[in-house]
Amino acid sequence: MSIDLEQFHETFFEESFEGLDIMESGLLELEHGEVDLENINTIFRSAHSIKGGSGTFGFTAVAEFTHDMETLLDQMRNGERQVTVPVVETLLGSVDVLRSMLNAIRDGSEIDVNNVSQMTASIKGILGVEDAASGTPEVEKLSQAAKGWVVHFRPYVDILKTGNDSVRLLRELNSLADQIEVTVDNESLPPLTELEPEECYQSWSIKLIDAEVSEDEIREVFAWVDDECDLKIEAMVEDSRDSAAGSLGEDQSEEKNPEKRSTEKRASKSSTESSSIRVNISKVDELINMVGELVITQSMLSRFGESEDFNDSTIERLKDGLAQLEGHTRELQESVMRIRMMPISFAFQRFPRLVYDLSASFDKKIELVMTGETTELDKTVLEKIGDPLVHLVRNSLDHGIESPAERVKAGKPETGVINLSAYHQGGNIVIQIKDDGAGLNKNKIFTKAKEKGLVTSDERMTDDQIYDLIFRPGFSTADVVSDISGRGVGMDVVRRNIRELGGAVEVKSTPGEGSVFTIRLPLTLAILDGQLVGIGDETYILPVISIIESLQVKSENINAVAGNAEVYRLREEYIPIVRLYQIFDIKPVSTELDSGLLVVVEAEGKKIAIYVDDLLGQQQVVIKSLETNFRKIEGLSGATILGDGTVALIIDIAGLIDLYQKDMASNVVSIKGAAA
């Protein structure tokens, strides 16, 4: 029988990467001087599992590499080796090498052999083994074609208590030879009254006649019981020179290496995002349960279809049934969504290491505090949020936290703190990266933005607006491009990536006290709670989550400002009015503000009031991508199909605000042009 092992590879990779993360965080704890045996054990187990799995699934290079790591860890947990910083650092390095090896295998690319051999050498250096002493077993004993063998097998009385069975051993011996002769020695068999059925009193002499097997093969049969029996194996050759073979089972004949299996197959998937997901069984049970409920409701409803007479009471019950159906559908949807949810710790895991490495290379002292690691979010979002998060944390580390000397001068503790937290708020996931560094430098940002032509010199901006400039394309503040932050990726890419996930990012900063980057993400990319609004004949959808309030316009609160802009005064706050019909160039029912409604929405700390003809109702909508079906359109995040079959476009609030601001800016320019 041949089984295609490739079907288990994806699982193996997944659990191996998880194992590497576990090793990494465990090693980092060790690095901090917390030597805890259970922790070392956990690290060891992960290495051990990766080694076992890689060997089994044919990734011999990985298995060999892990072997030395495992040996080192084994010495550590047995107390044979001190846990020192160099040892831990080497192991951390090995984790990286191992990760890149696994990535290479999974993606079908080349393993960096130099890297691997360098790391192997440093581990071996610690272990103090030279390559030569790799313990290759001595050349196999010359085992001539003997005429046969005589095996004297005397099991100890307790052999049955390990689940071993003499009959099985005899059966196996039988399979080695064409012909066997068995003699039973019943001498030590006690009288029946004293006989313990759980004990073994007999011994055997077995002649394997004309058996073309080696002594090792016979020993192999007894490998499991060699400490539970006396075993003597004699060759039946005429000149029985191989008398050494008669010794009692001393040589622990290890099984031979199973022959190397087929070369490591290349995984077909090249992307780093895995296509499978591991789901807690309780989530699946919940789903099945919901489907059961749905079936019951369905059968209840179908009764109405069959019944002939339809009266008020049946209609009442039909309504009940439909309400139940709606409830179940929603619950089912939530259960399905929960299957895709994973704790954010998967994205957070890499940060202790990152911060550790970076603070060393910047000569800064930084403590990373993480909270809310169990907050769950959609797997796709989780996979894509990793890179933006790394960028923001790097940024806080590089630009935010000051050097120990500067901090002391400013009267702060030497060690800076970066807080990474995640929590639910409304229907959103909020991730915050907070540092207690110097805060953003307002003047520097403004000057830079002027240099880059992002703002005009006389523009009056609030602090928050100035801070927000760092997210504009073409903005980078670092005077000296460090190898950490200056990787050609700016904050604009961070914002773009987060927006692609339907999320938003904003920054708040206090000089001398630090900055907070706040990322808001939707729970899922698939479904959205939408507010339907009518403009002329068209229906648009606003995400309910961004709506602050809707109001009827009081004309005395409308102020016109320069450049064709209008603002609405709402409780001492002036909010720009966006006439959606202008932006989308459609014909509204009315252009008079006081005959329509304003919907105040917020994204990334900015508010606008959207002018619409009417509010139509709220419903959950399934988001269909415009990009995959048509092309990306600024200000829209997708489309959906409404209950009546028509298509409605979903407004991307953050995009709309950008669009509006650009519009205003170009108006300003044109007005200026006219004035000049």
């Binding site: 029988m1 089984i3 193996f12 599992s49 076992g52 089994t56």
Partner: protein, 120 residues
């Protein structure tokens, strides 16, 4: 058909063992660690137990020791999945009551041969 309890904290190994044995017609129950296995073994009688050694919560050797103490499992064959380098684990496991071992890495054929050998 014989029933087998397959214990391993590694999902891929568990899948591989279980898939192989099921393919040969055995009834396989999976467990993720020693404690899980012990609970399952107490609620259902198995003809053979195959367990990994290094596992969280309860390791394979402790599991074997515990299970061997159960009246129903006095003579049930119990195999450890262990690596070549772990000679001391083998004897430790034997002392705890293990019947024998399968050396990792192994392929499905090796696994199946051993299982068939033990179950006769």
């Amino acid at each position: 058909m014989a029933t087998i309890l397959a214990v391993d904290d590694s999902a891929s190994m568990r899948q591989m063992v279980s898939f192989t044995l099921k393919g040969a017609g055995f009834q396989v129950t999976e467990a993720v660690d020693g404690q899980d296995a012990l609970n399952k073994a107490k609620s259902q009688q198995f003809d053979l137990v195959i367990t990994d050694v290094n596992m969280p919560v309860m390791d394979g050797i402790t599991f074997i020791k515990n299970l061997r103490g159960e009246a129903n499992y006095k003579f049930t064959p119990m195999l450890m999945l262990t690596t070549e380098s772990a000679a001391d684990k083998k004897s430790e496991g034997k002392a705890a009551g293990a019947t024998g071992w399968i050396v990792k890495p192994f392929n499905p054929d090796q696994l199946l041969n051993t299982v068939k050998k033990v179950l006769g």
